[in-house]
Symmetry: C2
Subunit: 319 residues, 2 copies
């Protein structure tokens, strides 16, 4: 007999390089998952077929548990009608009604599509570091800087579903040019590509740094993971760059906290994995920038969900 405890949701984490799909229990356990290389270069039709196949495969492993819905986390902007718009790394994909396409094949269960950073925020809220906090800002610090805003335990999507673009908060009106065309976006300081470029410049000026040894002298190979390794080994330059990067992120988080009366920020993504050094810098910077009445309760927390956040958050859309 199925009880509601036996019910299960399907979560799909659609990325530029992989499609990861899992069966998620009400309490956030992943009971089964599959993973395919994304066929993003072949156009939306192939990707939709891949998603459908991965969902069918997952449901086939549900062992009689009732599937209560299918959630999909997608890159790019997801509008209020489930259209996925211009996702990076998925070619020939202008604006695709992903929810409607999948409903044609899975018409007996609710289907929900949401931006991937928003899904990761939902994952933190339901299953991760945000469980104890009804209101927080989630930040994903990777290639770009994305975000999701949880207010009163619900995702704040904004009027058109585009809320949470905190990577384009300006922290220096005279700052470096961002890919978006504006100057001084926090992403233009610390998004992975920009952070790597900043690091290359600094290492050129100080080539004795361990960073250069870790990439065997090949500047083109410099990226944040080596910053992190060098910092762990005590390299002063790496520590200084990570400290500065955390400080920059804290400026942007402080602006959001002052605007929304928030006290909690949860940070995930590759660069945040550098750990205490960078997180402490973020914390100090946030405390410096938020108004005094907010300052005492500030929490800046590292995500622990890791690679599963995508599947969990997507399933969280329908759980």
């Amino acid at each position: 007999m199925n009880t509601s405890k036996d019910a299960i949701a399907v979560g799909v984490d659609l990325g530029g390089t992989t499609v990861k799909t899992g069966l998620v229990s009400m309490s956030g356990e992943i009971r089964y998952h599959n993973k395919f290389d994304s066929r993003g270069a072949e156009g939306p039709e192939q990707v939709i077929k891949q998603i459908a196949d991965s969902v069918t495969d997952a449901i086939a492993h549900a062992d009689g548990r009732r599937t209560i819905g299918i959630g999909i986390g997608a890159p790019g902007v997801v509008d209020n009608n489930g259209f996925v718009k211009a996702p990076p790394n998925l070619l020939h994909w202008d604006s695709i009604p992903l929810a409607a396409e999948l409903r044609q094949q899975f018409h007996d269960v609710p289907i929900s599509v949401e931006n991937d950073a928003n899904c990761a925020a939902i994952a933190e809220s339901k299953f991760g570091a945000g469980k104890d906090y009804p209101d927080f800002l989630f930040i994903i610090w990777g290639t770009g800087i994305g975000g999701g805003i949880i207010l009163d335990r619900k995702l704040y999507r904004g009027p058109s579903g585009a809320a949470g673009e905190v990577g384009h908060i300006c922290i220096d009106h005279n700052g470096p040019l961002c890919g978006c065309g504006a100057r001084g976006c926090v992403e233009a300081f610390i998004g992975q590509k920009y952070l790597s470029e900043r690091t290359v410049e600094r290492v050129k000026a100080q080539p004795s740094s361990l960073i250069l040894k870790l990439v065997q002298g090949d500047y083109a190979k410099i990226e944040p993971i080596y910053l992190s390794q060098a910092a762990d080994a005590g390299d002063e330059l790496a520590r200084s760059i990570l400290n500065e990067a955390g400080t920059f992120l804290g400026v942007a988080i402080g602006s959001v906290m002052n605007t929304l009366d928030l006290r909690v920020s949860i940070i995930g993504g590759g660069v945040s994995a550098a750990g205490d050094l960078v997180m402490d810098a973020v914390r100090d910077s946030v405390r410096m920038h938020v108004l005094k009445p907010l300052r005492d309760d500030i929490r800046v927390i590292q995500s622990k969900l890791g690679n599963n956040a995508g599947i969990l958050g997507a399933a969280g859309l329908v759980l």
Copy 2:
């Protein structure tokens, strides 16, 4: 016979120098109002008595219309229990339960207390430039830079009622020191005091400016109103300073729009009264900083409610 159309609300605009109280109809007309010099220097007891007297006077002029509630807009932070905390220019006022105090005297009507910038945002939403926009950022540009956020036609207060402190959005992590202790808050660039200081510096370097003539050579008298007058008369320095100030404000507004997926900002307060020149600069700057998908629908609108916004917004709390 009273119909709901005859019902009326009392709105109190409590400021550092005046207490203004009005009777406001359902459609936002002020049917009666009084105004007293605030006895803020004499401590909270006197101020509360003043508010009570002004409300009693207003209700006495209601001509038989039913009073449906009393709303009070107060400076400082107003928490979720109607405590007014550390309002500037009201002395010996640490944390006062203003709503509860007034309920003792007016126990037969609902009483609501809210921060003054939030009240002004409500006024715009119900009766002003925001009537047609369910979601917008309101900014009050005066001595400081305050704000109020309207989402889905409702005020967003935040978990503790402190939301909307957009004056402390950082637009330059290396910028000038703000009164709050942080560097580069937009208020530290363009709040009235800071803008005056910036103007003094610029006029010293260019004393032929009309600004110096308007203050009869007295640098201590330089303030934004003369900037505005000089700009209207074609003074290039004044125009350049106002243009820069509007650009700075636009940077902060752009950050909020990217975060919250907003397209509309309504700007009130003394400096915004400088009009097209400064508003055009804000607009250009916002468009530069918001992400491309938001850019086409951007509206930056000057408030038209003027001095009545305080009374209207306070009444709007209970209308």
